[in-house]
Symmetry: C2
Subunit: 416 residues, 2 copies
């Protein structure tokens, strides 16, 4: 027997809709020795509250084992649901713990929403460009993606209103309202209100995925969509707020939908890890912890973003970017004629720095003139070196563009 029996044709059709994982090569390359990465969506490990988490796990082992090692109810450990309800209430509409489902990261929240709401061919409205993980999840669920153009104020709700008025049926709208991935845009208050009004009028839920809201450089955030419409499903990630490795997050949904999401969660993985829920609930239960931690976090990323903004202005005149007001990313336009994001990203890898080209994020829109740069994980010296490598990649790529264009001029047939 071998380890690779013939399994052709046994894979389900839905898996063929997952799409190519366009950036997995780049992310794989970030593990190479010496590679500097501006590619991932990772928060900086320097921001993790290691000592506070270690103390929380220690307290749980001392006082709550073995309950923290046993099975727990599918909706979540009560203290964790309560902690998420309090966090949700302080940043949006007031909710009780009964409205909360603990999930294994917000990606699972997204997946559960797709399972519960989407039948084959249902239409999902989302920004163009959009978060790749959402595009893949909705794709595997068999949804039809209806991209709506977005600008520096987020999704253009006037375009959406026009589509709906023209008879488009929408099963859900997906938004990343603060510091959008990849664009960094913040959905304005006026557009939030307009979107909520459309949700009420046409009866669709809004899936609000807001992992970067806590990373506002000025500490300010707009209230959750759920203050504007009760048709909101809030995904509450803690990956950028605390750390990603615990896979403890939550969602808040209106009650009839929450019950269905709990049923879907039960078949998906029974429950999220009990121990992590006890520990995070313990940590968030300390009223002094989060405000101080968030202040440090915001200061940290404000500093990093400022460093990258200065370096781009000084050394990368062929990149145009509005520095973001929060989050982890610069979404940069390539101003040099003929420069293609895919080719530049490959040249950058060769020069020892990983960045993500625009096309994978884009649905209908042309992403070939944009790249996404993360400023989160590189310290000042590495960030400086990474930018230096980008100039090397740019020089090589434009030289080869020039040579190709010269070649194409010299070999062009003179047929006029």
């Amino acid at each position: 027997v071998t380890a690779s029996p013939d399994l052709d044709g046994i894979v389900a059709h839905r898996m063929r809709r997952a799409g190519s994982d366009a950036i997995s090569d780049i992310l794989a390359a970030t593990g190479l020795p010496g590679m500097l990465s501006m590619a991932g969506g990772l928060p900086s490990a320097e921001t993790f509250p290691v000592a506070a988490l270690a103390a929380a796990f220690d307290a749980v082992f001392t006082h709550r084992a073995p309950a923290a090692l046993q099975y727990a109810p599918t909706p979540g450990v009560p203290a964790m649901r309560e902690a998420l309800a309090q966090r949700a209430s302080s940043t949006g509409a007031s909710v009780t713990a009964e409205r909360v489902l603990v999930t294994s990261g917000s990606q699972q929240g997204l997946d559960l929403v797709a399972r519960v709401l989407l039948d084959e061919g249902d239409t999902v409205v989302l920004d163009d460009p959009s978060y790749l993980g959402a595009v893949q999840t909705f794709g595997i669920a068999g949804a039809r993606l209806l991209p709506v153009p977005a600008d520096e104020d987020g999704m253009d709700t006037t375009v959406l209103a026009g589509l709906l008025a023209a008879g488009e049926r929408c099963k859900l709208v997906y938004v990343v309202p603060h510091f959008h991935n990849p664009t960094g845009a913040v959905l304005t208050a006026a557009r939030r209100a307009h979107l909520a009004e459309l949700a009420e009028r046409y009866g669709f839920p809004i899936v609000e995925d807001d992992p970067y809201a806590d990373l506002a450089f000025d500490g300010q955030r707009l209230p959750s969509m759920d203050t504007l419409t009760d048709r909101t499903v809030r995904l509450m990630s803690l990956s950028k707020t605390l750390c990603p490795g615990l896979r403890v997050a939550g969602l808040v949904a209106p009650q009839p939908l929450l019950a269905e999401l709990v049923r879907a969660k039960q078949t998906a993985d029974l429950q999220s890890n009990t121990l992590g829920q006890y520990a995070v609930a313990h940590l968030l239960g300390d009223p002094g912890f989060l405000p101080a931690h968030l202040q440090r976090l915001q200061q940290f990323y404000r500093g990093r973003a400022g460093q990258l903004a200065a370096l781009v202005a000084e050394q990368l005149p062929w990149l145009s970017a509005d520095p973001p007001r929060g989050g982890l990313f610069f979404w940069c336009r390539l101003t040099h004629h003929g420069l293609h994001a895919d080719r530049l990203s490959r040249a950058a890898l060769d020069a020892g720095v990983a960045i993500v080209p625009g096309p994978p994020f884009c649905i209908d829109r042309d992403g070939s003139r944009h790249v996404r740069l993360s400023f989160a994980t590189l310290g000042e010296a590495d960030l400086r070196a990474a930018v230096q490598r980008l100039t090397v990649a740019f020089d090589r790529e434009t030289r080869s563009l020039g040579a190709a264009s010269a070649r194409s001029r010299s070999t062009a047939p003179h047929t006029h």
Copy 2:
């Protein structure tokens, strides 16, 4: 705005196939004050290696934070994949870490297998009766369930061979080969070989879900199905071996299938919790830990099963059960004429003890004459009290049966 907008009609069709959660009322009742539970599938918290786990988490926080709090690759933390590969190799065919995917419990392994392999209407073969979580997961995936009768030697593979020879198309076969839930049966070596031969002949994969294999009272287990056919997907739970609350498990699959399972995992929840993986890998990396721990575990459950066997023999003559050779459950037949498992279970709840009636586990078969009793979580005094309450429930139920039968005799129409 209220918390319950009208969401009628927006839930996907697949959710309507999840079936009723027949035992959720019973499991909810196990939380009532004073209730003694023989109902759940929980391991005993007394068996959890609390001190060893606390030390492992402490070591990870000391030496591996912040990596253990950061995102990790979707297939798993390398050390955890390696630990699972070693565990798999010591109980089945030799496998490398590249064949392992870390999952958030074995329930997620089951769900990923269903997502990757099952299209609407595909046929899944499984024992009748079968594990409820599997029935629900395959149901939501839209599979057609093809139950095959099982006896004390597990699935009757001769019946399966007949179905396949008659033209049944089977997309996968699901088995719980050691100490089956609920029946406690062990699939014999001869039937394993027969099943493997059928998998090779008809080209279907076998999904081997083996959470109770480490709980053999005599420490013996049969080798994994993967020693017989490389068409095996092994689900490797640690919930009964270490504890359920970490949600760190794994699966071993042939390579082309593993890559698809990794893609499905990525959209499902990106990855399993990094910290738990580091800690479990640390614990399993200590070569002295697992053998000693398993010995204690087997001795513990052997003792508990023996206590229940003695109590059933002494006090519950209306229950017939072959004491199991491992696992957590007695599958008991009701020998008293007219006694129905659903009614007895309700009467038991009223008397303060939770048990699970047979029907929810059964697909085609009649489960109304069986109940499942767990001996795992109750200490000797509680077990004795629980059995006492079962006699109370039995007395009440048979009295009411007698009264009903007397009533039906006295009110029977005298039509000739």
